[in-house]
């Protein structure tokens, strides 16, 4: 090779594809960038009607610019710029943009009841587990009151144990509290919701901890029932429980069912890959779990305020029964367009 490997010549500037391309489309890219920046800083409301109409067109132009640039241009900075701009525009256009109110409306109208409906097998299993473990605890404690202390920690019993007199037990059922009712209700709501979320998350460990939690819940129920039944107070305890318990136990069972759905999807993914199965189970289960937080807020009000002010057994049963009927109708009432595509 010689010195003639290069030579300076008077020639028109070399025009590469990137330059040609920029000259043709740079204005559109810049406009899209401006719009997207404004939307990122504030929201879609920062755009005028003209801008909103232009947005999808500009987005598609930029996308096709990117596709062309990747195939014909070697200017890396141009390609990177177009990639980033397209991604930013994509997020603004396809991100969660529907208003909060529409999302909430959809949640109450379809998302929540359909998610709970979809969990009916697991929910039924949880209810049966609760009943079975309650029965076991009931018969154990009736046969040998010593079992009571094996099931229920002393701090939780609060004197309601087999050694308590019928009068003392009756008093705990009908005691009227007048102060701090709202605080008590709030405490019950946050505490129980935390447990529901916990039960859901624990389902990840192949559902085992969730099932244990549900079983223990049933055991406590049965043990208390046995103590009160021994003194002939079973019907009264039923009212005390029913007023909030139909809502609360239902919520806990749904949260448990959601956790079990996730655990079983991971343990037994079936035909799909494990990750696909987990996602398909996870999203609707999370909606059902979010719904239980609302149910527990209602239960907290019923327990914290309703039970302290309503002391008549039949009224307590009536309120509890009405709540249960309401929830069952809301969740399992047949809906039209059930097969329409639903995004969990």
């Amino acid at each position: 090779m010689s010195a003639s490997a290069s030579a300076i010549v008077e020639s028109r500037p070399v025009v590469v594809n990137a330059s040609r391309f920029r000259a043709a489309h740079e204005a559109e890219w810049e406009r899209l960038e401006q719009l997207v920046t404004r939307m990122e800083k504030r929201s879609i409301r920062a755009l005028s009607d003209d801008d909103i109409l232009a947005l999808p067109l500009l987005y598609r132009t930029t996308l096709s610019s990117l596709a062309v640039a990747r195939d014909t241009s070697l200017d890396r900075s141009l390609i990177v710029y177009l990639e980033q701009l397209s991604i930013r525009a994509y997020f603004q256009i396809y991100g969660v943009q529907t208003s909060v109110w529409r999302q909430l409306g959809h949640f109450f109208a379809r998302g929540w009841p359909e998610a709970v409906q979809g969990l009916w097998r697991e929910t039924l299993a949880c209810v049966l587990l609760t009943l079975a473990s309650a029965a076991v605890a009931y018969f154990l404690v009736r046969a040998d009151p010593g079992w009571f202390f094996g099931i229920i920690p002393e701090s939780l019993a609060g004197g309601r144990d087999p050694s308590a007199s019928a009068e003392a037990l009756r008093r705990t059922l009908y005691e009227r509290h007048d102060d701090m009712l709202a605080t008590f209700a709030t405490y019950l709501f946050t505490h129980n919701s935390q447990i529901a979320i916990f039960a859901f998350a624990l389902g990840f460990a192949f559902a085992v901890p969730t099932i244990l939690l549900i079983l223990y819940n049933g055991l406590m129920l049965g043990a208390f029932l046995a103590v009160f039944a021994a003194k002939g107070l079973a019907f009264n305890l039923g009212g005390w429980l029913a007023i909030h318990g139909t809502t609360e136990l239902f919520a806990i069972n749904i949260a448990g069912a959601a956790g079990i759905r996730i655990g079983t999807a991971i343990a037994f993914p079936g035909r799909d890959g494990r990750t696909e199965a987990a996602v398909r189970a996870g999203r609707p289960a999370a909606l059902a779990m979010a719904g239980t937080v609302i149910m527990l807020a209602v239960a907290g009000l019923l327990e914290g305020i309703g039970r302290q002010t309503v002391v008549d057994d039949l009224s307590r049963y009536a309120i509890g029964g009405a709540m249960l009927a309401g929830w069952l109708t809301y969740f399992y009432m047949p809906r039209r367009g059930r097969n329409a595509p639903v995004r969990p």
Binding site: A3, V16, S77, G95
Partner: protein, 290 residues
Amino acid sequence: MRPFGPKRRGPFSMRRGFVTPEGVDLQLELGTAGARAGAFMLDSLMIVTILIVMTVGLAFLALASKAEMMLILWLLGFFILRNGWFSLFEMSGRGATPGKRLMGLRVVARDGARLTGGAVIARNAMREIEVFLPLSFLAEQTAQGAADLFLTLFALVWSGIFLFFPLFNRDRLRIGDLIAGTWVVRTVRASLGADLLYSIERPRRTFTEAALNLYGVYELQTLEDVLRADREEAIATVAGIIRHKAGIDEWSNDREFLSDYYAALCARLESGLMVGRRRENKFEQALTRR
């Protein structure tokens, strides 16, 4: 997409295909484990700060009047901070908590569809076992004063599994991401660099076939980086190497020489693209005219 799948060969890359409904692959870049840990730290810091401010503020108000009201507000505030901070921010259009925004991260559905409320709730409810369970273990231990060795070990192992879970799969998925079908990507914004060639109006050098056959796309883009960075020594070194390889002994302005060589090489490789021949790097066969 398949964290449990067989290992792929090839160098590890954080870029993942992401096909839009229009059919263009946008190539998202995943957030690194470090950035995500940083974002979580920032969020935790904000939550704790708000909690302290809220507690002190409500305590003062409670002293003034309506103690019960303040207690209720505190209970609800605590509940929302703990369970709602992440979900509510990620459900908003930005798909990111304040911490994630500061670190340039964003939550995206892995299938390219809209990020739904169900997904956001699922990924954040899992924090309950990832973060709060070991935390409450520790809190209980400290409260009781007597640290049971077995329980402490169990808590450590448990939190270790979940904390480092993202490092054990190639997509950096948390347990929550796994369940929700999401991943966390970087939101980078690049500005369009100046056009390297168009603006220059002066006589250009031309190069022989042999001199232009030296390099491929990879070298061209490295040269682009050198020109854009515009550092004196780097330009001198690179110009020297190219002159040496091409056998050019003309030692005038380095920057102009490189710029001209870049233009000529770019035009030549692009003309190769037009006929479907892309020379990836200098080790591939040169584009020869037949």
